[in-house]
């Protein structure tokens, strides 16, 4: 029997009944990667030896009766999270060969839960992109159509779960980098509220927006993985010290009385008709289940992309100042003094999109422009936040498409990086507010998956999961598999 597309909770049942061993499950995941990753390129590094070690350790815990729900389950981790002794490249040449001396807190929590880390997944360099084409290690491919992108920046993690390589993966979401690839590959992806998951050991891109979150094949698995990774961490001062509920308890099929607002800006110009119709039908399912659907307005949606592309590059230009060729990763061969070492290492080590963002961020922060750009963008962010808060007085969740389009062709935006940035139009608002949001598969357009996005109030992951679970229970889109061997 193939294990490739089973959910983590189904696999956990098989492990506990001893139908399979953790080693068999690990071997199955590695086999799948061996046979498909040449075409998909979900992984930058596969850690076979580490995976078998973890598998044996997990098997012992299982045999000893340890009840941890995800014990022995394989998982892939985006390559911008530090893994002790295991390459962490961030998709960049500048971190070529870098082996961290510590685990990111989220990664440590996976180990503590007895999960089996299979490898590190591909991403746009430093998570800057929406297609996973901007990786120094080459693009990832969408398992639904190998000529298309899996979305990004966590495209490798999404492709791994979609292609049946690992049942779960971790990604990071700064402007949509979990939800958009989840939508484009037809799986579940969730950005928790900012502060829920420690960012310690997540290579910093835009510190006020970055958040780690799960990819899964269904909402139950998503909730279980959230249970593992959430929680206060004193190593991240922005991680919030508040109780973490058992998210699986929120998984109710009942959405009677749930008030869903649908911003008209999420269904208007710039959204493909096929995506709009598919999402409209999905909202109909929730309405039939007893939720109320009402049109709303989030006028600042149109400013989100511009606001994001000021704030994120500004923060990135500061965060990426640490890559100097001295302490980690790549170093230039040029040796005309210390300044030359730094400048040449950065020139040779960063890819074009990262350079563009460092330049634009440095420009927007430089003397004379700070007030006009960065400070102004932060005030627009306040305006967006206030609009959201007003909506959340009337609605329990906000819903709409995750991505304006289905997966596009690799190379389609090579000469037009600005248009590619519009892919984040509908995901950026949740990052600006810092709140939680999920994407679940809600059907197909042109044979490609469409994501339904459900945005909740800050720290109300439970309502978001409930709505997503209720939807999933009434449809079978989450059981569709890509036409890949």
């Amino acid at each position: 029997m193939s294990l490739d597309f089973l959910t983590a909770h189904e696999l956990a049942g098989k492990l506990r009944s001893k139908e399979i061993s953790v080693r068999q499950l690990t071997e199955a995941a590695l086999d799948r990667i061996r046979s498909l990753d040449g075409a998909v390129h979900a992984f930058i590094t596969v850690d076979e030896a580490g995976a078998f070690l973890a598998a044996d350790h997990a098997q012992k815990r299982l045999d000893d009766g340890d009840p941890s729900p995800l014990l022995g389950i394989p998982i892939a981790v985006k390559d911008n999270m530090c893994t002790r002794g295991l390459l962490t490249t961030c998709g960049s040449k500048i971190l070529e060969g870098y082996k961290p001396s510590y685990n990111a807190t989220a990664v440590q929590k996976l180990h503590d839960a007895g999960m089996v880390l299979i490898g590190k997944t591909n991403l746009d360099e430093f998570a800057m992109g929406s297609s996973t084409e901007y990786s120094h290690y080459g693009p990832s491919h969408n398992p639904w159509d190998l000529d298309r992108v899996p979305g990004g920046s966590s495209g490798g993690s999404a492709a791994s779960v979609c292609a049946g390589m690992t049942p779960l993966a971790l990604g990071s979401d700064t402007g949509g980098s979990i939800r958009q690839p989840a939508a484009l590959t037809g799986i579940v992806g969730m950005k928790p509220t900012y502060g829920r998951v420690s960012r310690y050991g997540l290579v910093a891109f835009s510190s006020s927006l970055d958040q780690i979150g799960p990819f899964a094949r269904d909402v139950t698995d998503c909730a279980q993985l959230l249970n593992v990774i959430c929680g206060h961490d004193e190593l991240d001062a922005t991680s919030l010290d508040m109780p973490v509920p058992d998210f699986t308890r929120a998984l109710s099929k009942d959405v009677g009385g749930l008030r869903i607002g649908v911003p008209k800006e999420f269904m208007g110009d710039g959204i493909e008709a096929g995506v709009r119709d598919t999402v409209q039908a999905a909202l109909g399912v929730l309405e039939q289940a007893g939720a109320s659907i009402e049109e709303a307005s989030l006028p600042s949606t149109e400013y989100g992309v511009a606001t994001y592309y000021i704030i994120a590059p500004c923060e990135a230009s500061s965060n990426l100042a640490r890559y100097d060729g001295v302490r980690f990763g790549y170093r230039t061969k040029s040796d005309a003094g210390h300044v030359d070492l730094v400048e040449q290492t950065r020139e040779e080590g960063f890819g074009e999109e990262v350079k563009r963002r460092i330049l634009i961020g440095t420009y927007a922060l430089s003397a004379g422009y700070y007030d006009a750009y960065y400070l102004h963008a932060q005030k627009v962010r306040t305006k967006m936040r206030m609009e959201f808060e007003e909506l959340f007085e009337r609605f329990d969740v906000i819903a709409g498409p995750t991505s304006p389009t289905v997966a596009f062709k690799i190379g389609e935006f090579d000469d037009d990086p600005l248009s590619l940035k519009m892919a984040d139009l509908l995901t950026i608002p949740a990052n600006m507010l810092g709140t939680c949001a999920i994407s679940v598969n809600c059907g197909f357009s042109e044979g490609l998956p469409v994501g339904l996005q459900i945005i909740g109030k800050p720290f109300d992951e439970e309502t978001v999961l409930r709505a997503a679970f209720a939807y999933e229970h009434r449809t079978d889109w989450h059981t569709r598999r890509p036409p890949i061997a």
Binding site: K99, R331, H338, A364, H376, K379, R381, L418, T435
Partner: protein, 98 residues
């Protein structure tokens, strides 16, 4: 706001990237497009609004200042391409007085 190649050169210097003129010229069009988008954002009225630097309310977080031996010194140095005797090696920044 119109970007000039001199501005790009200045910003590249601030960002410590030794870019060639050719590379900067190839990039200036895309950078200008982004600046144009930024300029449109300036039309949004934000009178009386405070800036949001953080999405959730965080205040100073205090903790005890204590020494923790993470025992990762050698591993930290291994992350560098050039290290020896517990030190990172960099080009000399002081001459030898000759």
């Amino acid at each position: 706001m119109s970007l000039t190649i001199d501005q790009v050169r200045h910003v590249a210097k601030l960002a410590r990237m030794q870019m060639t003129d050719e590379e900067m010229e190839g990039m200036i069009g895309h950078l200008q497009e982004m600046v144009d988008v930024f300029d449109r954002l300036r039309q949004v009225n934000v009178d009386g609004l405070e800036p949001t630097s953080h999405s959730v309310p965080v205040h100073n977080v205090w903790r005890e200042d204590r020494v923790v031996d993470q025992q990762c010194g050698p591993e930290l140095l291994q992350a560098s391409i050039q290290a020896r005797d517990g030190l990172f090696i960099v080009p000399a920044i002081l001459d030898d007085g000759e």
